[in-house]
């Protein structure tokens, strides 16, 4: 029915869908957002995983991303929006501009008085404490990869996978060579991901 394919979810429906998400789905969304922020840290400092998730919902409701609940689950839809926002913010970062958040669109309060937006606050490009620490930690790519390798010193499978990645071996080829199922491979990858996240919670150091 054409009317159904054009149907876009409103705030009540999105709220309802959020309330139906499982604990695991919330965790998956959080990790997807954290990974995106970790990648963005190379260029963008003023946003975190919560900003990204907040903006994803605003974009969903602003119909910049049309969600048809009957066809795509909310987690899948938000994952797609996160990827889109990441790409957009990365472009902003490359132009040395702070990212424009949907939440920044409000520029005055209910009384019509101007309020500083997150965008305006983010426009302060002075290095914050986190940025100063990580900037001071700048490494060569080789040093960084060596430090990552050390994280897996007690995890032989992760260590093997990581060294294969450095040789540009693809996931399917690694699975084949090591006789791993998709699940075993993905589990090892997530273990590596968590180890890296734990070591550099604010993003990996810059490399030169």
């Amino acid at each position: 029915m054409p009317a159904q394919t054009e149907y876009i979810a409103g705030p009540d429906e999105v709220r309802q869908a959020i309330s139906l998400l499982t604990e695991g789905e919330f965790l998956k969304l959080k990790r997807l957002a954290e990974q995106a922020i970790s990648r963005l840290r190379r260029k963008i400092w003023s946003v975190d995983a919560d900003d990204l998730l907040h903006d994803a919902i605003l974009r969903l409701l602003e119909e910049k991303r049309r969600w048809k609940p009957k066809r795509v689950d909310l987690v899948g839809q938000i994952a797609g929006i996160i990827a889109s926002i990441e790409s957009h913010w990365l472009k902003c970062g490359k132009r040395s501009q702070p990212p424009l958040l949907e939440a920044d669109q409000i520029t005055d309060n209910a009384d019509g008085e101007a309020v500083p937006t997150a965008l305006a606050l983010a426009a302060d490009h002075r290095h914050g404490p986190e940025q100063r620490i990580i900037a001071a930690e700048e490494l060569t790519e080789e040093q960084l990869f060596h430090q990552i390798e050390e994280l897996f010193s007690e995890d032989p499978l992760a260590s093997l996978v990581f060294s294969e990645w450095q040789r540009e071996t693809t996931g399917p080829d690694i699975m084949k060579a090591l006789d791993l199922t998709r699940q075993q491979y993905d589990t090892a990858v997530r273990r590596m991901d968590r180890a890296i996240q734990k070591r550099w919670p604010e993003g990996m150091p810059h490399v030169h």
């Binding site: 959020i18 604990e23 960084l144």
Partner: protein, 148 residues
């Protein structure tokens, strides 16, 4: 200067790590986080709260836009009302004059049998209704004499 964005090796690492999460079922992610001792309930509650806050922000933005439109309209009306004559006699004269010269005003005032018998408050109210309807657009140009 950082050249991370040009590093294909680092990009490949990020892409490989991302796949592990993208391919994972929420149940696997939950089980692994619990096994690592993370407070999964607290994390889930926090994400839930962030998402619901965003829905509220969206609704407040709509409300904000409506308030803004209301304020704008109110200011416009207030500015127009300032153009009404200051004295009750002059306002009544304006209403009678407008009703005799403009068919739209005559239609609006037809419910009153005799404009001369209207209370001052009703005259004021009728003029404000006419302003809102845009039927007295020219009063500022033609009827400022009552204010002087």
């Amino acid at each position: 200067m950082s050249t991370n964005t040009n590093s294909t090796k680092l990009d490949r690492l990020f892409a490989n790590l991302a796949q592990g999460v993208e391919n994972a079922s929420p149940e696997d992610i939950l089980a692994e986080a619990r096994a690592e001792g993370q407070d999964t309930e607290q994390i889930a509650l926090s994400v839930r709260s962030t998402l619901l806050d965003a829905v509220r922000s969206f609704e407040q933005r709509k409300l904000h836009a409506a308030r803004h439109a209301y304020r704008k309209r109110s200011t416009e009306l207030k500015n127009k009302r300032i153009l009404l004559p200051e004295t009750a006699t002059a306002r009544r004269a304006l209403l009678i004059s407008a009703a005799s010269n403009d068919q739209r005003v005559a239609r609006v005032t037809a419910r009153f049998r005799d404009l001369k018998d209207l209370s001052d408050e009703d005259v004021q109210s009728a003029l404000e209704d006419l302003i809102e309807l845009g039927a007295l657009e020219d009063i500022g140009k033609d009827n400022n004499d009552g204010n002087e």
